[in-house]
């Protein structure tokens, strides 16, 4: 339909070589299909939920749902979600940065960098249910590492308080896609550091430490912090890995919401809306910070 319109528009334009007389509105038709799609499958569904968070079952305005966000087990779920996301984002970005820096260092064989990048592409997408299986086979009660530690090191991982179904277990599992994601995001930023800057720094008598403190980190920090925030949102919204690891036994927000939607527990529509609102607030704020920092970093580079 739209394509046809654009087409006839061109035919008309070719017939009369005038430059786009009433082009403004017609040009917008080119993005109309995309806008319609975004409206139907992204903006309206989300907006509907966010509005629903402020309505009661009869559709009247209320703040009661939001008050329920402060109920004990909901607060607990948000706390655990925030902790796991923050821990995996922080650790993931530090280790990812280290790995990316190591791969860019001279002195490593040339095949190592492309191999690492390919592997990171794979591992950052190897999330969800299969990842949970892999970690259960590794660090679960019958996992290979658990068994090897018990047999050869005499160390009982589970007696020491560790469980794959806990904060530390979940964080360790999330790191499997967080670290590679960080490597992928941060490598272009590190590549953007010009070697002249390092040379200029050392010709002025600066050490490697000076270079990092006064040149590289001030340039990199917005993208570092921004990447960490993206990792945070990435972990915060994850459902499948945690669900496949623990069923609905682990009390994190996404699993709570999943149970609400499925009707596994007391089915309460408006609490679901409020949970969704809470999640969008958390990821929205962290991503708004990301976009802002990103814009700043790019402005600094020009």
């Amino acid at each position: 339909m739209t394509l046809g319109l654009e087409w006839s528009l061109t035919a008309w334009r070719r017939a009369r070589p005038v430059r786009w007389p009433c082009a403004g509105a017609l040009r917008l038709l080119g993005v109309a299909p995309f806008m319609l799609f975004a409206l139907l499958f992204l903006l309206l569904p989300t907006g509907f939920l966010l509005l629903g968070a402020f309505q009661d079952a009869a559709g009247h305005f209320t703040l009661g749902n939001l008050r329920r966000l402060f109920e004990r087990n909901v607060l607990e779920a948000f706390r655990l979600s925030l902790e796991v996301s923050a821990a995996s984002a922080l650790t993931g970005s530090l280790l990812g940065l280290g790995l990316a820096l190591a791969a860019l260092r001279a002195g490593l064989p040339a095949w190592m960098r492309p191999t690492l990048m390919t592997f990171c592409g794979v591992a950052s997408n190897f999330a969800g249910v299969p990842l949970a299986f892999a970690f259960l086979s590794t660090l679960g009660r019958m996992g290979l590492v658990t068994l090897l530690l018990r047999r050869y090191a005499g160390f009982d991982l589970y007696a020491s308080g560790f469980s794959i179904l806990s904060f530390s277990g979940l964080t360790l599992t999330y790191l499997y896609f967080q670290i590679p994601l960080m490597v992928l995001i941060v490598t272009p930023a590190i590549d953007g550091l010009k070697s002249e800057w390092r040379e200029a720094c050392s010709s002025l008598g600066g050490s490697t430490l000076d270079y990092w403190r006064h040149v590289a980190l001030p340039i990199l920090w917005p993208s570092l912090l921004g990447s960490a925030l993206l990792l945070f949102a990435n972990a915060f919204g994850a459902v499948a890995t945690a669900y496949a690891l623990t069923g609905s036994s682990l009390n994190i927000v996404t699993i709570l919401l999943y149970a609400q939607i499925r009707g596994d527990v007391l089915h309460d529509q408006n609490l679901g809306y409020a949970l969704a609102l809470g999640m969008v607030l958390v990821t929205g704020l962290s991503n708004a910070a990301y976009i802002w920092l990103r814009a700043r970093a790019e402005r600094g580079r020009e």
């Binding site: 061109t10 082009a23 080119g30 299909p33 907006g47 002195g107 390919t118 892999a134 590794t138 949102a233």
Partner: protein, 268 residues
Amino acid sequence: MKSAPSSLGAWLAMLFGGVYFLLPLLATLIFSLKMRREGYSFAAYQVVLNDVNFRQSFGYSTLVGLLTIVLGIVLVVPTAYWVRLKLPRWRPLIEFITLLPLVIPAIVIVFGYLRLYGSNAWLPLTGNARGTDLLLVCGYVTLALPYLYRAVDSGLGAMDVRSLTEAAQSLGAGWRSILWHVVFPNLRSAMLSGAFLTFAIVIGEFTVASLLARPAFGPYLQLIGANRAYEPAALAMIAFAITWAAMGLLQVVTRNHRALAPPSADSD
């Protein structure tokens, strides 16, 4: 310069990374081979591959993945092209929209679908199986939007959209033939890399498929994981191989693209 100590650190970092990333794969592989008491065997793989539900759900997800790629490309390529050519001022807004699925968790989006397209809503798509399939594909296009749009847009950035369009127009080409004969061929590698990434996201996706109650591969994996011991490990290895294949093909595609691109394009 002082390369000896620094490359030692680099080696240690790579060693750490290697152990952390390869150990779970190794453990999963070994675990998946231990189904038979008497020794290592591929029994778990045989059980999985002979399972009708495996084949059906995998086939279903493959089909959904392909449809997602087609719909995504049909939606994204003309839009990105048009925005670059005619609506540069709209670019930040469009980019913002394409990045929203990174902000709004998938579980929230699908929850919205269930409310908006539920059985007693104004457009009851979830009322029948085909409607729900359509909703699933649209949901996956939404999830893939940030990656697909970025891939296509940077592909457009690498070609001279304006000159190519004007050249085509001066030869008398209409919009349809510009898209088909000029834009699509030039974007082949960008679209392919977007497609592989989309496929890697869709094939094992759990949340959306499970909440829309479609017989996809992700929910099947979860079901097996909850009820079996050795088969999940075999499935994890299979899923890893699929992801690896998709990403490997992506690398091949982008590398060929680099080789074809003019050498002055960027720093590497």
